[in-house]
Symmetry: C3
Subunit: 351 residues, 3 copies
């Protein structure tokens, strides 16, 4: 790809893409500014990295439109845009191309059930098992050894990496990405205690519904609802090893980091950000835009949109940080009490 | 199913099932009281839901035998029992029927080792691999792409969902349910440190023994013992993404919520309840009936049957809640100390 | 194996292996000292277990060279070495032999891509899928239903248990052990926030590099780098259900216990020990030999080699334990304040 072609490509996303330097060098791939070599493209978004400009060997660097780079032009050319970080992400997508998870067509070793509909342009890998009455959209990719029970629906352009398992009735939207080992629709954890100490299983008769543009990480689990649906909204991004229990509803564009756990019947709003290893008690409601710090334990509902929560049990970060500072200084409180005791003893002796 | 058929079915479990209303309406499925439609059956167990009675469109509602519902009978009929929640669970089981995880028989693509015994009525899915000398009981269901190493034993009526892996020698009781991606019998985490900083692997020569009526969640891991067995007792229920390390013993009917982690050689008693993301240090003994709150960190043995533990490190909940209240009020302690200092300064000035 | 053969075998690892008793008994396997039967070999490393010596039925016990055992010799023989624990570990390895994960050769149902090179003596199980241009070393074992994307490299003598998934470009060293369900090279969790609240995926174009003699537990996930490599150093041991995010570097011989989570771009030194359920914020540097207690939350870099960290947020254990002791005694602080208030009130009244 030439610099001119990159400029044209970025022009699709940005009104202005200004070139400093020459436009005909050939660019072979992306790299970090500090390690880039001739023929590579990099970017500077954070001021901290400007110090690498004088020595960079990159042939092209994407920078902010306000950054004066003219003095560095020479072996390095520059493209100036409003948001160099996002521009570089789009460029990465261009270089990434499409990964070969499974080859075009349906592998001979895949087993397809009865009454399955399959769209055009699919790639269905070896040893995939697709149950009866599944609906597979166009351009869907299903990696080797993935299993869909019966009545699963996969929207156009979605990618299931090898070994994904979707239980019966799971519905997945368009352009979803499900990483290896994630399990969607396993039974919710529900058992009715009996007088003799044993448990009777509560059948989990609902399903899992995954929206459009969702990404779910490796070995993450999303349980089916007892009745109705566990819902993952459009644009939600879930990291690895996350647990989403039965009957949860996760709002649009919410982001959940690795190893977080969300108990049953929790409703999380849209555009929330949930830190790693955070945990939620059951049956809570979390408003839109709430941020939850890593390792926090959410023990009650929070209706205040946009609040940042931290601690176990979690509370708004301002109170929590004040509280943590007090606790951290407990040693000095102890000293003050001892000093008060000493002074009071002196005073009492004087009486 | 007609209401009369439901009444007869519940009569198998309850001495008295009293009908209020007519018994010939046809019931097509279960639903929550607040969303149920004509033809659906629901239940009321918790008083909070009685408020939905006047407007419900359900054709049948299971209620407590003491609840006066006569005024609401009309389009809705009622069945009165001693325990409407458990009655509804049994009814769910009736409606759930049996899920098709794999079709009856042994799939043509399954690979069966030498000396394997297989009972009647099994369903063994596509691409299942069963190692030499395995023993598969009657009515066992093994979902597609599951793998049993050699010498694995599966009791009658157990269900392994797709992608389950049982390492060599694992024994599983009757009517167990193993969800997708769970791994039973992987090597315990044992390494002998060497003088040069490296480690020598301690061979894990034991096995995993799973009792009857156990349910294990998706992507949960249970490690084999170093010598002897890691034991999951009868009736134990384990949620998703739980870690049970080598040489643990989990007592009968104990329940373990998602993402809890139990270190090596821990013995947990019977009828314990362990919250999500809780963690146990190694080599502990936990008495029968102990409850562990979510996110708790158990750092020592607790022999006091039935105690509730909370906190990191965990202690009995009464002390822990008192302690947490004090810590929460640390700000007022700080204020009191400052006030004492001021008052003392005044007193000293007066001298 | 006779006692004499065991003595010869241990002589390969230890300068001196002294026999007390006779050397011709036949030893069939290992056992714990308290449960060993005739024909079995056990060991005593910890003084606590010496009390089992008088009653043991073991035919052979490995003990420390300084332990006087002559009076117990009779049905039981003894081998005295400098380090009986490590000697027993080597003996376990001898008895363990090699586990049959897959049979010698390439299973007929395995699917091998184009341009794949495969070494001698491999065992490649049923339904394994190996992508184009993979390089499989000699004596590699790949369990059934494992999947390698294209361009994966596996070093000599490595073992992949059933269901392991390696994304494209993953490189694995020699003698590595990857347990079932672990996923190497799935996409790092990177998304660029957009003005409308949605996210654009940041392509994850790097790879995962696993060193020699690494062991990775069941259902653990290691994400590929955004650019460059996520690196797991030689000799690293990782337990089950651990998350290692994109661009991390884990130093040689570091040990990570179950359910720990390491955020993106963290560098962990060599010979570190990381406890279960510990968590690391992103972009940190952790010096060599640092130990992290279970459940700790590491929120900043620590450069002090060999320090032990504990707490959330974590600090060196000495300060943390002092701090925890103060917090635990907060009740007595409260009492002292109340007493001070009472005494001060008396003093004020006297004025």
């Amino acid at each position: 790809m030439t610099i001119q072609e990159i400029r044209d490509y970025l022009g699709r996303f940005f009104d202005a893409v200004e070139l400093v330097g020459n436009d005909n060098a050939s660019i072979t791939g992306p790299a970090k500014i500090e390690t880039a070599e001739k023929g590579e493209v990099s970017f500077i978004s954070n001021e901290k990295y400007i110090r690498f400009l004088p020595q960079t060997r990159a042939s092209l660097v994407i920078v902010n439109q306000s950054l004066p780079v003219e003095e560095f032009a020479g072996n390095t050319s520059f493209l100036k845009v409003r948001d160099p970080y996002t521009a570089f992400v789009f460029l990465l997508q261009k270089f990434a191309g499409s990964r070969t998870v499974a080859k075009r067509g349906i592998a001979a070793t895949a087993v397809i059930g009865e009454g399955v509909s399959i769209g055009e342009g699919v790639c269905i890998g070896d040893h995939v098992v697709i149950g009866d009455r599944c609906r597979i959209g166009s351009d869907v990719v299903i990696g080797p050894n993935a299993v869909l029970f019966h009545d699963v629906s996969i929207g156009d352009g979605s990618v299931l990496f090898p070994g994904v398992v979707c239980y019966d009735g799971t519905t997945i939207g368009k352009r979803a990405v499900l990483h290896s080992g994630c399990v969607l629709g396993s039974d919710g954890f529900g058992f009715a205690p009996q007088a003799d100490g044993s448990y009777v299983k509560i059948p989990q008769m609902g399903i899992v519904e995954i929206g459009d543009d969702v990404e779910i990480g490796a070995n993450t689990t999303v349980d089916r609802a007892t009745m109705g649906s566990t819902v993952i909204g459009n644009g939600v991004k879930i990291d690895n090893l996350v647990q989403v229990a039965h009957n949860c509803r996760i709002g649009e564009n919410t982001v959940i980091a690795a190893q977080a756990g969300i108990s049953g019947s929790v409703t999380v709003g849209s555009r929330c950000m949930i830190g790693g290893q955070a945990g939620f008690a059951g049956h809570l409601e979390i408003a839109d835009g709430i941020q939850v710090a890593a390792k926090a334990g959410i023990s009650k509902s929070f209706n205040d949109s946009g609040v940042v929560l931290r601690g176990v049990p979690a509370q708004p970060i301002r109170e929590q940080l004040k509280h943590e500072a007090w606790v951290r200084n407990i040693g000095s409180m102890k000293e003050k009490i001892e000093q008060l005791e000493a002074e009071l003893a002196v005073l009492k002796n004087h009486h």
